[in-house]
Symmetry: C2
Subunit: 121 residues, 2 copies
């Protein structure tokens, strides 16, 4: 068993690429993934699961078909399963995703932004 | 559907009692709970699930039978299922718990620190 704390800032210093989730912890079948984002992601949805965004640094917006949610550091948003959404960040933003293991970042979208879903740091 | 972001600081201003988890979000069957802690909790374990602690403000220690984990803001620790642990905080500490819905805070312990497990704020 791994009895070491995960320090988000230390982990964030280990990578720089955008839109490429890095797994830092797992609780049962749920994974915690750090992501650096900037620019516009692709519209997509996850038919099988909700997805949680927690902003650690910077600002982001989650665009929805009928609205948008702006998130600051210390804010959390649950994207309900099946809800089409597009994450956007004008400047670099650091987020913590909480979602089932093996979830693909682009969901149902055919996109060149699809990233590996099994990278631990 | 609730398309509102959860602001941890605003939610924390809504209560003051210690060791009494408040649910602020749910993802599938997983809940996110804010807790203010100070002093020593009771030794306990959760036979059926892992449990995640994320420190938002202050410092805490998770004592284990064979060691201890100190956590600062921006740090996460997964207590594996079945592992006996005791959270401790010398000064008030604010944490985010991530765990299955309906989990009881004192697990297998018979304790007057057992809190309701269904309080949303």
């Amino acid at each position: 068993m791994n009895f070491t704390a995960v320090n988000f800032q230390e982990k964030l210093e280990n990578f720089s690429e955008h839109w490429s989730p890095k797994i830092v912890a797992q609780m049962n079948d749920i994974q915690f993934k750090l992501v650096k984002i900037q620019g516009e992601f692709v519209w997509h949805s996850h038919a099988e699961t909700d997805e949680v965004f927690i902003v650690l640094a910077g600002e982001m917006t989650i665009e929805l078909r009928n609205g948008r949610i702006s998130l600051q550091p210390g804010e959390l948003f649950v994207v309900p399963k099946g809800v089409t959404h597009k994450p956007v960040a004008e400047n670099e933003c650091h987020i913590l995703l909480v979602e089932p293991a093996s979830l693909v970042n682009t969901g149902d979208a055919d996109s060149n932004l699809t990233a590996p879903n099994d990278v631990w740091i």
